[in-house]
Amino acid sequence: MLLGFEDPWVSLVYILCILSSLLCVVWGAFKWNAEATEEPEEEVRHWAEEEDKVEEEL
């Protein structure tokens, strides 16, 4: 009777809930500084231009 539960399936899912949250934490920590500057310059520029246009209209 792991953790006081009758059914091993319930013990398993209780642990899985915690582990899946930990997976999220580990993923975030592992990737903390990765993929910061992947946006292609051209697209970003295009987007900025569009934004300026909208601003003018406003």
């Binding site: 006081g4 539960f5 899912v13 999220c24 975030g28 993929e35 500057t37 601003e55 406003l58």
Partner: protein, 561 residues
């Protein structure tokens, strides 16, 4: 004394919410600010906003109460919520949606799909579906929140409904997505504090983690005979494999996860509000822990209430709550927790409702204003970019509040039934109409414009048809089937006269009415997938240039030439 504190805290809370809405308003200068937060939202705010929008009051009170009846087997839903609803959603859908949204300069979910498939029809059609079907979902959350608030503060339901709607309307219309997300972050933080305190207080009251579980295990002999016959083996066991209760639990879990969540416009747009993929990665831990502390805590505490009620009243939870599943958690909090916690918990539930509703208002309004009027019909641009969107939000709010107020007034119990199905209807529709096209948009270069349109239409029509005429739960509530054919559902002609409560028993005994129980998702989603693929195989592909623009490599290709 307590009610004075409660009122005071609600007033302070509303002032802070108002201030954050004002901050959103001050920080909003362009359409990009209003629609996607200038693409500079902090990962904490993004994750909290996603989570708080995802979790409404009913996820805590309704599903928590259900755990009081079914037991901890419901935790499979939490596991799937975290793993699929956060991890897979952020890591796979989030990253790609963000990058493609930036490349195509998309500001809303329908706009992303429309630009990816170079189709104003896709953008307008997706927006129209959102605008038609979301108000019912919003009403469902709104009515629940107004009733709860009315009871807590001892004010009439109507007053609560209007005051509540006006406050949310103000910060959504003025502050746009920034107003929504800043307030969401505060509301998510309050929810996190409330649920953390709830689990700590519950375990400490019941003697610690393992002793509390053990006490619940020891209660297995108290399972009512009716539930035991259905396959209930105790609150720390799964129901008997293949039993009616097992099927109910599994279908609740499957539907609760709702594949539709992955393709919900108000959630998908969150990925486009941050600066880069890095921010989405940073949001993953916050989202994962948030969901664990929401549904995970609600289900564990919901099940453990049995120990508390049995020790104090000699009854299990559902008996102590007089058969009202949704009353279990509020009753437990009122009976067992200190006064200060009741106030915190009330604010947490208020936050859960407001954060979901504000995002719904924003999504409805942007669909009508930005996607349908401005972009798809090409009107309103000259009259000033945001006006159409703001008017769209206002119309969305008026429709939702009207539905919340009038349906119940006009149709009484039937009206309540219709609204109660609102969430399921919207989730089902999102999955059938948007999911195949959305996955195709992000991962496949082979899905064509015609394929996307055909898939969206077939998914939408199939699921709406199934809801109106076959799936017993919706077709009964929506009344059209009864009016046209004289039966509640075309799938259960033979058991007309059976009460809804006896449906499952009838099904198990005869096994002949299966179609009436098959969820619209099971029909609409595979159909939409097949149609999307087949039509794409037969129709004209997108140009290489457009695909490069969507999937990257455009700049490099230009340099090379």
């Amino acid at each position: 004394m307590d009610s004075m504190w409660m009122t005071l805290c609600v007033i302070i809370y509303l002032f802070v919410v108002g201030y954050l809405g004002y901050r959103g308003y001050r920080g909003t200068h362009t359409a990009t600010d209003y629609l996607v937060g200038g693409r500079k939202i902090h990962p904490y705010v993004m994750a909290m906003s996603y989570g708080a929008t995802f979790i409404s009051t009913s996820a805590i009170v309704g599903f928590g109460g259900a755990a009081g009846v079914f037991g901890m087997g419901l935790l499979w839903l939490t596991f799937l919520n975290i793993f699929a609803g956060i991890f897979l959603a952020f890591v796979f859908f989030g990253g790609r949606t963000h990058v493609m949204g930036l490349r195509l300069d998309a500001h809303t979910f329908p706009e992303l799909l429309g630009r990816r498939f170079q189709s104003r029809f896709v953008q307008g059609g997706a927006a129209l579906l959102v605008f038609i079907f979301m108000p019912l979902y919003t009403s469902a959350v709104l009515i629940g929140a107004a009733k709860y608030l009315g009871e807590q503060l001892a004010i009439p339901y109507e007053a609560a409904l209007f005051v509540f709607s006006i406050i949310i309307a103000l910060y959504v219309i003025m502050g746009g997505i920034k107003g929504v997300m800043y307030t969401d972050a505060l509301q998510g933080t309050i929810m996190l504090a409330g649920m953390t305190a709830l689990i700590l207080l519950t375990y400490s009251k019941l003697g610690g983690v393992v002793p509390a579980h053990q006490a619940l295990t020891d209660l297995a002999s108290q399972v009512p005979e009716k539930l035991a016959k259905g396959g209930h083996l105790g609150w720390t066991s799964m129901p008997k494999l293949g039993s009616p209760l097992w099927w109910t639990l599994v279908s609740t879990i499957v539907m609760g996860v709702g594949i539709g969540v992955l393709a919900q416009p108000q959630l998908a747009v969150r990925y486009m509000t941050v600066k880069s993929r890095r921010e989405i990665n940073r949001a993953v831990p916050i989202g994962g822990i948030f969901i664990l502390m929401m549904t995970g805590v609600a289900f564990v505490v919901g099940a453990l209430t049995n120990v508390y009620f049995f020790n104090n009243t000699g009854k299990i939870s559902i008996a102590a709550a007089g058969g009202d599943v949704e009353a279990i958690i509020p009753m437990f909090v009122k009976a067992s927790m200190p006064g200060w916690f009741s106030v915190l918990f009330m604010l947490a539930l208020l936050s859960a409702a407001m954060s979901t509703i504000s995002s719904q208002f924003h999504a409805m309004g942007t669909s009508l204003g930005r996607d349908l009027v401005e972009q798809s019909l090409r009107k309103g641009r000259a009259s000033g970019g945001l006006l159409a969107t703001r008017v769209g939000i206002l119309i969305g709010i008026v429709v939702s509040v009207y539905l919340g107020y009038e349906l119940e007034k006009q149709f009484g119990k039937t009206g309540t039934e219709i609204v109660a199905r609102g969430t399921a209807i919207f989730f089902g529709l999102c999955a059938c109409a948007f999911l195949p096209m959305y996955i195709g948009a992000l991962w496949s270069r082979a899905i064509t414009k015609a394929g996307a349109i055909a898939g969206m239409l077939s998914g939408a029509f199939a699921s709406v048809f199934w809801m109106l005429f076959v799936h017993e739960k919706e077709s009964t509530a929506l009344l059209l089937c009864k009016k046209l054919f004289g039966v509640r559902s075309l799938g259960i002609r033979m058991v007309e006269g059976t009460e809804p409560g006896q449906m499952v028993e009838q099904f198990i005994r005869h096994g002949k009415f299966i179609w009436a129980f098959v969820d619209p998702l099971i029909i609409g989603l595979p159909l939409a997938v097949i149609v999307t693929i087949v039509v794409s195989m037969l129709s004209r592909k997108f140009s290489e240039d457009h695909l490069r623009r969507c999937f990257g490599g455009l700049a490099k290709a230009k340099q090379a030439s």
